[in-house]
Subunit: 279 residues, 3 copies
């Protein structure tokens, strides 16, 4: 059935077990797995700002798949090895001045990342310093650094582009229709205290306590029997996952034709110029 | 039409009028009807913990049907005659070590109870000391004893089982997707103050004021014209009621095959042992 | 496509441009357009209470269409020239003792007003003293006078009538299912502070600051690129707009047959008598 299109189905796909692995690292992502506790830590270390580039997404999907298929792994903490940013979001250089083939490949990678993460059978905790909203919203629980200078939000409309329906669905599932409607239209980046108040994140802790707190929360979630928790999570998220699975190719075509428009390309180039001047 | 599958249709089913009745009692439920005010009080008195057993549910459905068909009854207050608990939820003994026929009969009774209650044309107020979450969520208004030692929640996943989609739909309609997702995955039992903050209950009052407050709230709701209020309630709840009506048999089959699994039976036996040790 | 059934489609319908216009006034509505900023102010001035009569709605729809088709207009502030009331809601005299033809025409005007407003490509800000709930809910942002004697709500059920499904959908999109269910059943009129707390309005300001605050908020929204903001708004609202477009004729027939019932007519006459005695 369609439900099998994502997530772990441990009995049917044992092929990728990493029984021996303790840690595996690539260029942009560091994965540490503690087989005693069943807890993995996935650290983003792709300078300068952990943007979701095609390369980053590809590595991330592979890491997620490995963990999902590893029966020894029951929960994951996502965090950043870069100060001040968890992830800056979609990489603009992958959406600007590239070929149609590149856009297709890039968008498929964004979709895959989200399908894996939002549909994961593992408990997923985001330990965020700042930014990385879509990624965080797709986890089970969000802890953010208690720093009013740190921001989080889906700011697509500030770039002149539009969040796809499944970003919107994910956002609405967390904060409700009203907050999502206003925040998405304005492309708001919310300071941490506001993000907490709006429900975008679940709690704030001092930055140096992020990892510790994430571990404590994860332990609480792992106290539940996996099977019932997984079926419950799937029941909650399946309608929104199914919606993308059903419209996946349309969504790729829609993205590609939208992003290739000269007006959009111009708008993205302007935004990149503004960013480069800011530095 | 399907809308007629539940609730009172006074003109078409006047057969069960209890014009003379003042009070009727069975073994497990006490019903008092004040025909002057049109207010019934339904008291759960099934020791030790008012669990939703097949017998309890059968009596409850009969009581609800009688009241629904009694034009003299416009509103109901549900409360408990047992200290410290409104209802402990689904009776585990009805889900453990029984025949398929028993599971079928039990689950049909759970469905019937919910269809009657969630689709009731009467105003329904839950005056809760503790527990009884699904029942309370299916009422129009929830008042809980202001006692931080009293808990409420849908804790199925703690038992290793999964709340059916219509428990979930009912929960989401009250607290929204985010709170439901987290609470259902963790099988959380929330202390009264937290239940208020999450919106699971509408207000807290000192335990000895439960009945008085429920009567005051009900009077407020009964000030509205019945017909407009009933049509409005039906408009709000019909999609979720229809969903179970459409999938009722599938839902029975799903429950029966799930609950009969040896792994689930084992998990329920463990939970019962834990409970019996606690006493 | 159906999405084109409402809202501005500037490239395809440039016919109604009002390039020269500074202000245009009718009997019941005053429109001022500042072409420098692209901001229009629409003032309701239909004594005694700006009720949504057939005449008022007809003028309002024409004004909205003109603004929507004017590329010089990017945002609108709606406010009242009448003290103490923004709009009293549906005009009861248009629903009482009239012909079927009149009811049809009236309801079509209510639908048209909502389709134009909820689906507008312009940024729409409601600067409310009191009342006018449906209109306000259909805007992008709601600012209300900070006066606990001012009320707002959908009080249909107090009149013995039922809000149509698209009023309900609009309400649920703003405040969620639970608040809408209770408020609609009770036909509640909420004092301003409660309206803020429930999320019916976005902020309260002293009455004399309404216009100033609305202008400041609108400027913030207009800082975003129109195209991305409009597509995002449409994505959020399209499902609810589509639902009425699909069922528009059914909804008219439903209204007409409901409102023409003698029991409903009697209930409305009673309500009007009560109002006239109150004066």
């Amino acid at each position: 059935s369609r439900a099998q299109a994502w997530g772990r189905s441990a009995r049917q796909r044992p092929g990728l077990l990493l029984a021996q692995s303790r840690a595996f690292s690539n260029n942009k992502i560091l994965v540490e797995l503690d087989e005693g506790s069943g807890v993995a830590t996935v650290k983003f270390k792709s300078p300068p700002v952990n943007s979701l580039s095609l390369d980053f997404l590809t590595e991330l999907c592979i890491s997620l798949e490995k963990l999902e298929n590893n029966r020894g792994c029951r929960g994951v903490i996502f965090t950043s090895a870069i100060p001040k940013v968890f992830s800056s979001g979609l990489d603009i250089t992958d959406m600007c001045g590239k070929s149609t083939e590149h856009y297709v490949e890039f968008w498929r990678a964004v979709q895959q990342m989200w399908l894996r993460l939002y549909g994961s059978n593992m408990v997923t905790i985001a330990a965020i310093n700042a930014r990385g909203c879509l990624f965080a919203l797709s986890c089970d629980y969000r802890i953010m650094a208690d720093n009013p200078k740190f921001y989080i939000g889906l700011n697509e409309s500030q770039l002149g582009i539009v969040a796809p329906f499944w970003f919107k669905d994910t956002f609405v599932n967390v904060v409700g229709h009203r907050v999502a409607e206003r925040s998405l239209q304005l492309g708001s980046l919310h300071p941490a205290p506001e993000a907490l108040q709006l429900g975008i994140v679940d709690e704030l802790v001092p930055e140096e306590k992020l990892q510790e707190k994430a571990a404590a929360v994860l332990a609480q979630w792992l106290a539940l029997p996996d099977h019932a928790r997984q079926l419950t999570k799937s029941m909650m998220r399946k309608p929104v996952l199914d919606r993308l699975v059903t419209h996946q190719e349309d969504d790729v075509q829609h993205f590609v034709s939208f992003i290739a428009k000269e007006s959009i390309q111009k708008s993205l180039r302007k935004y990149m110029e503004m960013l480069s001047k800011r530095k």
